[in-house]
């Protein structure tokens, strides 16, 4: 790289400006000529030993402060209980240990940095030195020699200049195929999609239970203007597949005045104005449960897709591509709300095979 230029021992200070300085003649010739590196101006510390001493003391003080901070870190670690909450203005109630450890560590590090930089700026030489650059590209001679070597190498390998093409090509073929094994090995990363995304836990007669209490819901539990979060009965948080299933099966129930329901099929699929929609947004799958009782709009907090629950969960605004699927519901002989089957279409974000 720059082995012959790196050492500044040979670049002594007196020969710098002269070499760069094109001299007065050239300046007159070209008013914009490079005047060369300006002469070095000494700092206070370079000429005043007392100023230099002062800098030295500041640097030493900073390094000493860092040591004190490190001791403070260790002491804080040992003495401050981890659950101690302290009030510190203006931060409020904070963890005493975190605060102490952070500040002592921060100070210990910062003071080392400040000391080193102050040392470099005030006490180390601040004389700027030029270093010549060399073209990155090789000289034509080097290039010719390399090409010659390459030719010799291919010649010696026995496949140079179009010879033994079959051997070369079979190697290329084998090399191209080898990574396939790695690709094949990835197959078991996951199962085939099959119809997994099309089905949920809902089926005919399955009771709708309150998500929080786990109790079956009755029509009288759902008042006009309210939104109730629910799920199919028989799901337990401890189940291995709970999260995967709730990610598809979670629903919300709203009750509208039957006259307010604009979509006939939607009214049909409900029960006495109680409508049961998938609460999984059809955009990317956040629960779209910010409900506005006056307008019957359900808003997804993630990307603001807005669904009109009085009109078959039609998309009013935002990036969701289709309405929230509605679950057909009725009541069983005990007067509890039940599903009449699974969703007619897959809930959640759309996918290629969804159709």
């Amino acid at each position: 790289m720059s082995s012959e230029t790196g050492s500044s021992k040979d670049v002594s200070e007196e020969h710098l400006p002269h070499k760069q300085d094109p001299g007065a003649v050239t300046v007159a010739d070209d008013p914009f000529a490079d005047p060369g590196l300006p002469a070095h101006e000494p700092r206070k510390q370079d000429i005043d030993e007392r100023a230099a001493k002062r800098s030295e003391r500041v640097v030493t003080l900073l390094f000493a402060l860092s040591s004190v901070a490190t001791v403070g870190f260790i002491v804080s670690y040992l003495l401050i209980p981890i659950d101690k909450i302290v009030y510190i203005w203006p931060f409020g109630h904070v963890s005493g240990l975190n605060f102490a450890l952070g500040w002592t560590l921060g100070l210990a590090l910062f003071c080392i940095g400040a000391g080193a930089v102050h040392w470099a700026r005030t006490l180390m030489s601040d004389e700027e030195v030029p270093d010549e650059r060399h073209p990155i590209a090789a000289s034509p001679e080097v290039k010719a020699a390399v090409l010659e070597d390459w030719r010799a190498g291919t010649q010696e390998s026995g496949i140079g200049f179009g010879r033994r093409k079959m051997m070369r090509n079979s190697l290329l073929g084998a090399m191209a195929l080898v990574p396939l094994s790695g690709v094949v090995l990835l197959r078991d990363l996951g199962p085939a999609p099959g119809d997994k995304l099309f089905h949920t836990k809902w089926e005919a007669g399955k009771r709708i239970v309150n998500e929080n209490t786990g109790l079956p819901l009755r029509p009288e539990d759902i008042t006009v203007g309210s939104l109730t979060q629910a799920m199919p009965e028989g799901m337990d948080l401890h189940d291995h597949d709970f999260h995967s299933e709730i990610a598809k099966a979670a629903v919300m129930l709203v009750r509208l005045e039957p006259a307010d329901i604009k979509d006939e099929q939607s009214a049909d699929w409900g029960h006495e104005g109680i409508l049961c929609f998938s609460k999984i947004c059809t955009h990317i799958g956040c629960p779209a449960t910010l409900y506005e009782r006056q307008t019957h709009h359900a808003l997804c907090p993630c990307h603001q897709s807005t669904f009109d629950l009085s009109d078959g969960a039609r998309v009013l605004f935002g990036p969701a591509g289709h309405p929230l699927p509605q679950l057909r519901i009725t009541t069983n002989e005990d007067g509890e709300l039940v599903a009449m089957g699974d969703f007619a279409e897959p809930p959640g974000p759309s996918f290629w095979e969804r159709g």
């Binding site: 021992k9 560590l105 270093d131």
Partner: protein, 550 residues
């Protein structure tokens, strides 16, 4: 090591033995050749400019992230197995949660200093990407990506992508309600890929969302795969910096064929090394005082729950914005296949946006056909079209970033979320164009001002009254140093189409591509694209008439 250079070789030594440092260096030299290495690099010159520190911040943030990250892996359990929380954070006691979330709570509440390490890790990650952005801006706006540094620009760009990927997989690990929502978003985006999306989703998650595989898999990507790639790229990036030698700004004695600055040992080493500690110390103080990602207030992830203000970390905000800006476009093909353009469009626009940035150096080189090496950092005003493109890109990015937080803007400024979104849809196309035009004009104006300063000198603010009553402002001629610095940049000439017929009168065929190139070159370097810098003749003409006023 220092003793090795301090001790003159011929100086007599006590006991005839070299100092310990020199003996260690001798030992190493016999095995790895440290003296040759040191000769080439120990006094290597690094130029000084505040903007050159931005890249250093990136490097130091990366080191800090690795240090704190290794510590966190000692306690973090990358598992989605459900456990009942029994740690000391009372509000969560008895709650069923994944081991990932439980161990994150343990790091925060039961490991002394664990919370601090988590916060330093997260803050350093945010600062890392900020610093990469500013570092890239410095390189872009000074044209430091030009030959021979195009490859290093690409390395840096890849590091940006990897940093974003590592951040994304990292903040998904705690499995809290917010990060789980982010993972759900990823699932939705993958499902939107035509034909293979469902398969990809099944493969990534090991089954249906969320399953039990995604966090262990993200963990290994986050702590091994991506950081490993980044270490390799960073080393390559640094080797190329040393090999090319740093760019510097034009100034007296600073030319395209030299580099002026301070030697690596001791000045640059002390400054750069000290700067590492400054950065680390500041981040530690930020972490001590400013809480970041307090996952304990959110609770564990459940697919049927969500919190408002669901925002990704800032560097993914623009992708979030692209998604939020999209209208609800969904097409069903042949009655059986769904094309989710609402997600697919951002998935395509995002790489195009980033790609435009990555490939700009090659575009500019295609326009200029410049084969020379460039080691002088240009002033942004001297490349108006490039600067305008860069700022327009930033405004584009910024619009997407704002749109990514449209709910926050709506709440904090009492605005309608719908209006913000509609505004963003228009602004995404309009603002970059307007910004481009304005910035280009500002650059040209600044070029004109430089020209005036060179030709007429600096305005002193001193008003002189002439004997006949006229008031004039006294202009002070610039110093030789200033004159040189303001005129050192070279200006490209606009490309010309070759003559319609060649020497023998035969019509020449000029390809469409070449015609386009000539047009672009004209807009870059023609009269409307740059202000000609003053020539020596112009200068002489004006200065010879000194004393006359115009």
């Amino acid at each position: 090591m220092s003793t090795a250079t301090d001790a003159p070789k011929s100086a007599p030594r006590r006991g005839g033995k070299a100092p310990a440092g020199e003996r260690v260096a001798d030992w190493a030299d016999g095995r790895v050749g440290v003296y040759s290495l040191a000769k080439a690099n120990m006094r290597k010159i690094f130029p000084d400019h505040w903007s050159f520190l931005l890249g250093e911040i990136c490097l130091y943030a990366f080191v800090i992230i690795i240090l704190t990250g290794v510590y966190l892996t000692l306690f973090f359990v990358p598992s989605m197995a459900e456990v009942e929380y029994e740690g000391s954070y009372i509000p969560m006691q008895g709650v069923l949660m994944s081991e990932a979330y439980a161990s994150t709570l343990d790091i925060s509440f039961d490991v002394r200093g664990g919370l601090l390490m988590r916060e330093i890790h997260h803050w350093a990650a945010l600062i890392f990407v900020v610093a990469i952005f500013f570092h890239m801006m410095r390189v872009f706006f000074t044209g430091a990506f030009r030959k021979p540094r195009e490859i290093n620009w690409l390395f840096g760009f890849l590091l940006l992508l990897l940093a974003m990927g590592t951040g994304l997989t990292g903040y998904s690990l705690p499995d809290d309600l917010l990060s789980g929502t982010g993972v759900r978003f990823m699932e939705g985006a993958i499902l939107a890929v035509p034909v293979v999306g469902t398969w990809l989703q099944m493969f990534l998650f090991g089954g249906e969302f969320p399953g039990y595989d995604i966090i262990p898999r993200f963990f290994v990507v986050h702590v091994l795969l991506l950081p490993g790639l980044m270490v390799g790229l960073i080393v390559a990036h640094l080797i190329l910096i040393v090999f090319h030698k740093h760019t510097h700004f034009a100034g007296p004695g600073r030319t395209n064929s030299n580099v002026v600055g301070m030697p690596l040992f001791p000045v640059y080493a002390a400054k750069a090394g000290g700067f590492f500690f400054l950065v680390f110390g500041l981040i530690a103080m930020i972490a001590a005082t400013t809480s970041i990602n307090p996952v304990w207030v959110l609770g564990p992830y459940r697919p049927d729950q969500v919190s408002t203000n669901a925002q990704p970390d800032w560097y993914m905000g623009f992708s979030e914005g692209l998604v939020r800006l999209m209208p609800a476009w969904e097409i069903v093909l042949f009655d059986s296949y769904t094309l989710n353009l609402g997600l697919l469009t951002p998935l395509v626009v995002l790489p195009l946006m980033l790609g435009a940035l990555a490939l700009y150096p090659f575009f500019e080189n295609w326009v200029t056909k410049d084969q020379r090496e460039h080691h002088i950092a240009e002033r942004p005003r001297n490349a108006p079209t490039r600067t305008a493109f860069g700022v327009a890109w930033l405004s584009w990015y910024f619009i997407a970033l704002v749109a990514g937080g449209n709910d926050l803007w709506a709440i904090n400024f009492g605005l309608s979320i719908n209006s913000i979104t509609y505004f963003g849809r228009v602004a995404f196309f309009v603002v970059p164009v307007v910004v481009f035009i304005i910035v280009r004009r500002i650059c040209l104006g600044l070029q004109r001002r430089d020209r005036d300063k060179v030709l007429h000198g600096r305005e002193t603010g001193i008003i002189k009254r002439l004997p006949h009553g006229e008031f004039v402002e006294v202009h002070e001629p610039l110093s030789q140093e200033k004159l040189y610095a303001l005129t050192a940049h070279d200006q490209h000439k606009p490309a010309e189409l070759p003559a319609a017929t060649d020497a023998n009168g035969v019509t020449r065929k000029v390809g469409v591509v070449e015609k386009v190139r000539v047009r672009i070159s004209r807009s870059y370097f023609g009269d409307s694209g740059q202000v000609a810098k003053p020539t020596a003749e112009e200068y002489r003409e004006i200065t010879s008439g000194e004393g006359h006023h115009h």
